[in-house]
Structure formats: structure tokens, C-alpha cells
């Protein structure tokens, strides 16, 4: 009985300790603005292998969802609101992102190099 509990418990403790590790130390940050359902800049260049924060400011009156499965990020930015996403260290490459509520116009790419 005790053995049954100890393995999951150990896993849980390990999980808790890693999950609660210190807040990320972002090396760099980039600003991104949404206006008229378009991102500017539409291309964001970041150093590969480093954590980067992106500050998103929504100048439209309507909400937008910053969405990228390549970057593994999804975040709603309220109309007139702002928010920050923290990107994990990226391998060199191009990572597309989009505004889910206005896919036709809101397109962009993060270039890690």
C-alpha cells in the first residue's frame, strides 16, 4: 500500500518543485502592436536559444487572440489592452503567428537566428 503511494507522490513532488522553479529570466524583449487587425512589425527577429518576451499592445477596440502553434502560444489581448508572452528558447527557424479573430490580415512571423 505504501509502495503504491510513494511513486506517484515522488512524481508529484518532483513536478511541484520543477513547476515552481524561478520565474524566467528573459534576456531580451520585443514590442508588437496590433492596429487595424495587422501586426507591426510583422517580422520579429530574435536570437536563437534565448528566452525572449514579446510585449503585445492592442490598439484596436476589439479583442484579438495572438495564436501560434509553432511558438506554442495562445493569448487573448483585450481591445485597447496589452499583455506579455514569454517565448521558450527557439531553434533557428521561422515561426508563424496569427491573430485568430482576424486571420486574413493579422499574420506575422518570428525569425530565430
Amino acid at each position: 500500500m505504501r509502495a503504491l503511494f510513494s511513486l506517484p507522490l515522488a512524481a508529484l513532488l518532483l513536478t511541484a518543485s520543477t513547476t515552481l522553479s524561478l520565474a524566467a529570466d528573459d534576456g531580451e524583449s520585443r514590442d508588437l502592436v496590433i492596429k487595424n487587425h495587422v501586426f507591426s512589425p510583422a517580422e520579429i527577429t530574435v536570437p536563437a536559444g534565448k528566452r525572449v518576451a514579446i510585449h503585445i499592445k492592442n490598439m484596436d477596440t476589439t479583442a484579438e487572440e495572438f495564436d501560434s502553434s509553432a511558438l506554442k502560444v495562445e493569448k487573448v489581448i483585450a481591445g485597447g489592452g496589452e499583455g506579455t508572452v514569454h517565448l521558450r528558447p527557439l531553434a533557428p527557424g521561422r515561426y508563424k503567428f496569427e491573430g485568430e479573430y482576424h486571420e486574413k490580415t493579422a499574420q506575422g512571423v518570428v525569425i530565430a537566428q
Binding site: 503511494f5 506517484p8 508529484l12 513547476t19 477596440t61 506554442k72 481591445g79 496589452e82 499583455g83 506579455t84
Partner: protein, 280 residues
Amino acid sequence: MLAALLIVFREVIEAGLIVGIVMAATKGVAGRGRMVSLGIAAGVSGACLLAAGAGRLGALFAGSGQEVFQAAVLGIATLMLAWHTIWMASHGRAIAQEMRALGGAVSDGRRPLTALGIVVAIAVLREGSEVVLFLYGIALSGGASGWGMVAGGALGIAAGALVAAMLYGGLIAIPVGRMLSLTGGLITLMAAGMAAQAVAFLQQAGLADALSAPMWNSAFLLSDESIAGRLAHSLVGYTAEPDGLQVLVYAATLAVIWGLARAVRPGARPVPRPSPAAAE
């Protein structure tokens, strides 16, 4: 209009799958209709409040308030699903027998229906707030095309509800004993998926910084963007390129739920064999 339909459909179906499975798992239980309705109603009201307060919520935690909130509600949903699964492990066999004997009717007030009601509410809250924000944005921009998009949104809600109903119909067509173990398994995987999603939100908030390298990439089999990939994501937490921490938390959640469920299952404990010395 088609774009609006698709966006709303995607959000509704993600919540709908969870509601469908909860409905199937509680088939025949007295009070489950009220529990699910209450959960949906609470979720919809919460979604409107969340949408209205999205700006203020987003500003908390240095611009990561939304992620912290998402991680918190996903954590609660994980606990509720775990509680239900473990409870079912200790009572499930008796329930299945009772359901067979009574032709599917069983009234078991002790069952933690509240736990599942909360899961339904959280699922509707999360996806619903995005639908509200999206449709509200369309309404703000106004115009004739705006009304077409609102109609598209309404159709999207109906289509999402229809798919959820089909899933429910498919599940309850399965013989009750097997259906209960299937939904039990699905609920356990769903719990692990939600725990891993909570981790992803903490990572996005910059609050979980360990083991962030991807473990594998199965996008060639099932991509995150495909409808099937999205369904697998909301059902069992599938992601094409999970990182170490997500895999670890997923596995740990499964291990904890399965371990506890095994430990509380009646009659499943290994009976200690009498040692040869004692037998002689």
C-alpha cells in the same frame, strides 16, 4: 460568415467534447441533468464576465494574468477529474452492476457530481470567453457583414453542439460496463492533458522554466492545426511537440490518478500469500 462559423465551431467543440464525455460518464445518475445545466449556465455567465474583464485580468502578473488564471482553472479541473476517477474506482463496479440490474437507472446521491459540474463550467468558461470576445468584436465593427458573421457564429455554436451530441450518442450506445471504463479512461487522460496545458500556460507566463526542450515532433502524424489535432488536444491533451516538463507532468498526473484509483479499488488489493512456513 464561414470564417466566423469555423472559429466559433472550433471553440464550442472543444468544450462540447468535455461536456459530452461527462454526460456519458454520468448516464442514468439522478441529478446529472441539473448538474450539467448548472455547469453550462455558470460557464456561460463566467465567460461573459471573463470577456468583460479580459483587459483588467490581462494586466495582472506583469501582463500574464490571463495565463495564471488559465493555469489555475485547469489545475482545478484536473483535481476535480482526478477526484471523480478515484471515487469511481472505489464505487464503479457496484454502480455498473446496479445500472445493469435497473436497466440504466441509478440514483446515487453520494457521487461527486459537483466535481463534474465544475469541470463542465470550467470548459465552457474557457472556450466561451473566447467566443464572446470574438462575437462582441464583430458586433462592435457592425455593418451588414457583421450580421452575417453573427449568423455564422450562431451556426458554429449549433454545429459544435451537434458534434458533442453525436459523441455522446456514440458513447452511450456502448454496453454500460465497457462504456464506464472507456469514459473513465478518457477522463483520466483528459485530466493529464489539462495538467500539461496548465504547465504550458505557466511557461507562456514565464513562470515554469525547466525542461523546455521539445521531446519529439509528431506533427507529420497529427498536426496541432488540423481539426483532428485540435480535438485530440482537448480530449487527451495531444500536442505535436511537447517539452520535457509537459511530458513529465502528464505522466505524473496519470501515475497519481491510476495509483490512487488502484489503491482504493475494492477487492483489487493483492492478498498476501501465506508463507510456506506458515502453511506447514
